[in-house]
């Protein structure tokens, strides 16, 4: 079932087009990756999905219907930048935000305690947000976005500022929420996270959609240009093989760039003649590579 449907949605600020005719669909129980460099229109798109701003053209449907007020209690939002009161206790502000989403105070309190336990930080209940580290603030921010058990979850850079242990913790949580049937719109600059979590993605660049579809199909549609080779002793003459564009020797092996499929076979043959091959792999392009190819440097 399609929970979220954007149909040629356009938003303009004055003469500037912030989002140009974006179309996407997110099914229930799916994590949809919305990617793009800074200023590509991700945040504007998310704000339109949240109903904070209205599109100038096109339409958005939530569960098949246009925007209505009851959606406010069914959507959760984690903004890109910290969105908490720095000087107010965690419990007070989370309960406030939950109440605004339509939860009763008791219910919100129960949920908050459960989430704090789950993130192994029950002692934060009475702490002020400014006392917490950036990563822990992010956990609280995450709790704020899911405390009311929303059906639609919008996560803008959910994992920023977290250490690897906490990234895993949150990633697990996000996957679990998907398992519960939540619809999740997810944005990140970290392509590896997107690759791990998302089935379908959409890449925005300067307000336009440059790439959209299933992550697997997208990857398959890009030529396999990378070969990994590990041998027990160095292999000579790889550079001379026709179709090989570049050779990079690393500690754990050799990485080659190739221009055609034929080159891969020739590399393997050459290697086997000279040494025992421990590993030979024709690599799929990573999302990072695809992104850079389409957009340029994502961290501009």
């Amino acid at each position: 079932m399609t929970t979220l449907q954007l149909d040629r949605v356009t938003k303009q600020y004055g003469d500037k087009t912030a989002v140009n005719a974006i179309s996407l669909e997110v099914r229930q129980g799916e994590i949809f990756g919305l990617l793009g460099g800074n200023g590509a229109g991700k945040t504007t798109t998310m704000r339109m999905v949240l109903g904070l701003i209205y599109p100038d053209a096109g339409q958005i449907l939530w569960k098949g219907k246009p925007y209505r007020n009851e959606l406010r209690s069914q959507m959760g939002y984690l903004p890109e930048e910290r969105g908490l009161y720095p000087k107010i206790k965690v419990s007070e502000q989370i309960l406030y935000l939950a109440e605004l989403r339509g939860l009763s105070r008791q219910e919100a309190d129960r949920n908050l305690k459960r989430w704090l336990d789950r993130f192994r930080v029950p002692e934060y209940y009475d702490k002020r947000v400014e006392e917490l580290s950036k990563g822990n603030q992010q956990k609280i921010q995450f709790i704020a976005s899911v405390i009311h058990d929303p059906d639609i979850l919008i996560l803008d850079e959910a994992f920023s500022g977290l250490d690897p242990v906490n990234v895993e913790l949150l990633k697990e949580t996000v996957l679990e929420l998907r398992g519960e049937g939540k619809t999740i719109l997810f944005s990140s600059h970290r392509m590896d996270h997107v690759e791990e979590l998302c089935e379908n993605i959409c890449i925005l660049h300067r307000s336009n959609t440059v790439l959209k579809g299933s992550l697997r199909e997208i990857k398959q549609s890009f030529p396999k240009e990378r070969v990994l080779l590990e041998t027990d002793r160095p292999v000579e003459g790889l550079e001379q093989i026709p179709g090989v564009l570049a050779v990079k020797r690393k500690e754990n092996g050799t990485e080659l760039r190739i221009g055609s499929d034929k080159a891969a076979r020739l590399i393997l043959e050459t290697a086997m003649q000279q040494a025992a091959v421990n590993r030979f792999q024709v690599m799929e392009p990573t999302l990072n590579e695809i992104f850079i190819k389409k957009v340029g440097d994502p961290h501009e």
């Binding site: 004055g14 701003i53 406010r72 903004p79 910290r82 969105g83 935000l97 605004l100």
Partner: protein, 430 residues
């Protein structure tokens, strides 16, 4: 409605619990207590030293005999607190030197000398002292001299004691104001006038103080919510309108709560016996407090507060960093100041055309109209018209502010120009 209450509660309690709020309230309560007790404290200190010991002044003898007569007059004891000491010497220069010496010793506070009488008129009197004569002492010296002058003239004219008595009798004067409709509206008595005066001052100061304080507080909180990006979470949960009005109402209630504390503090201080006497001596009694006027005070306080507060909220929504806020709220601060000074001017001229006009101009009318109600007699339709205009402008500016707010809270970066805001507003409509 439920969510509005949530926002109001959150706004209210967070501020009440904040240390800054408690400290400010405490300071104002202290200042208030000091201010209320100041008059009787001052009189307690200066009164004791001044009136018990009394004051001795030197009197230079002169040829016409005024000096000797004054010394006799003071000696006869009409005013025991002021004693005269006649300084006679062979020449005026000598007596002046003696006076200066006594002045230096501290046996006299100052000395008077009479000028030459011209054409039989009472001569000019000069008083010389080391420190400037002030307040009660000045009044006392002058009054004694005036009484002496009157007695002198009466004697010169050869009036009978009865004639002299008639001359001295004070005028029985009763100022009473009447309403426009003549007899129907009872005029205000003198004490009622005083109470009205007092209430007008209260509103003017209160409205200015509370508006500036809470207006800025509202704007600061909104800007802080914006810059900490809580705003995005907030307005994805509730409508920006609910958020804005919740904040304004929360602050309004907070202001009222603070007022209640102030009023309580004032009441406690005023119930001190010394202050009760002071009030009684001013001729004010609380039974004269016109309830209608108190009601009007509330009406104009609330409407004035609301009008300014919503605009402060809109301004706060346009600014992304608290550092820029002062500059952005400047025009509003000036507006508040203008309203304050217009009212201060109007206290002495409640019927001036300027004040009449201002009592219909929304930003100034809360002060100006209340002032007219308190100190003059505007017709009922004038009050109604002023209130209708005020309410209409609250609706208009509330609507405007709400519009600006919805757009403003999502605008970041440098402070937007009016052109940009206008553009954004149009874009929002489309």
């Amino acid at each position: 409605m439920n969510k509005l209450a949530t926002v109001i509660r959150f706004t209210f309690w967070n501020r009440v619990r904040a240390k800054s709020f408690l400290v400010t309230s405490l300071i104002i309560v202290l200042l208030l207590s000091v201010a209320i007790n100041l008059p009787h404290l001052i009189s307690a200190f200066s009164g004791n030293s001044g009136s018990k010991e009394g004051m001795t002044i030197g009197i230079l003898e002169d040829r016409a005999g005024y000096g000797r007569a004054l010394a006799d007059h003071l000696g006869t004891g009409e005013s025991q607190s002021l004693r005269g000491e006649l300084l006679s010497a062979s020449s005026e220069e000598e007596s002046e030197t003696a006076a200066k010496k006594k002045l230096a010793d501290g046996t006299i506070e100052g000395y008077v000398s009479f000028g030459a009488p011209a054409n039989g008129a009472f001569p000019a009197v000069t008083y010389k002292s080391e420190s400037k004569l002030e307040g009660r002492s000045l009044y006392e010296v002058q009054a004694s001299l005036e009484a002496f002058q009157r007695d002198w003239v009466v004697r010169e004219l050869g009036l009978t004691p009865k004639q002299a008595e008639q001359l001295k009798a004070p005028l029985s004067f009763h100022p009473v104001t009447v309403g426009d409709s003549g007899e129907a509206a009872p005029g205000k008595t003198e004490t009622q006038e005083k109470v009205s005066y007092f209430l007008v001052y209260v509103l003017i100061i209160l409205l200015f103080m509370m508006m500036t304080m809470y207006g800025n507080l509202i704007a600061t909180e909104i800007t802080a919510e914006k810059s900490s990006r809580v705003m995005e979470v907030l307005i994805s949960s509730i409508s920006p309108l609910t958020q804005m009005f919740g904040k304004v109402i929360g602050m309004l209630l907070l202001g009222l709560a603070q007022l209640l504390v102030f009023v309580a503090a004032a009441a406690v201080n005023l119930s001190v016996p010394a202050n009760q006497e002071m009030i009684a001596s001013l001729g004010i009694s609380w039974s004269d407090l016109p309830l209608v006027l108190v009601l009007y005070l509330f009406v104009f306080y609330l409407t004035g507060f609301f009008l300014y507060a919503t605009i402060y909220a809109a301004v706060g929504s346009l600014v992304s960093r608290t550092e820029d806020l002062g500059q952005a709220t400047m025009p509003l601060t000036f507006l508040g100041l203008a309203s304050f000074y217009i009212a201060i001017f109007g206290i002495n001229n409640p019927d001036a055309m300027f004040i009449r006009i201002m009592s219909y101009v929304p930003f100034f009318s809360p002060n100006a109209m209340f002032l007219r109600i308190g100190l003059s007699h505007p017709a009922w339709w004038e009050i109604a018209l002023s209130l209708v205009l005020l309410l209409a402008s609250i609706l208009f500016f509330g609507w405007m502010s709400a519009k600006i707010y919805r757009v403003g809270v999502l605008m970041y970066g440098k402070r937007p120009s009016w052109k940009e805001v206008n553009k954004a507003l149009k874009a929002y409509n489309g």
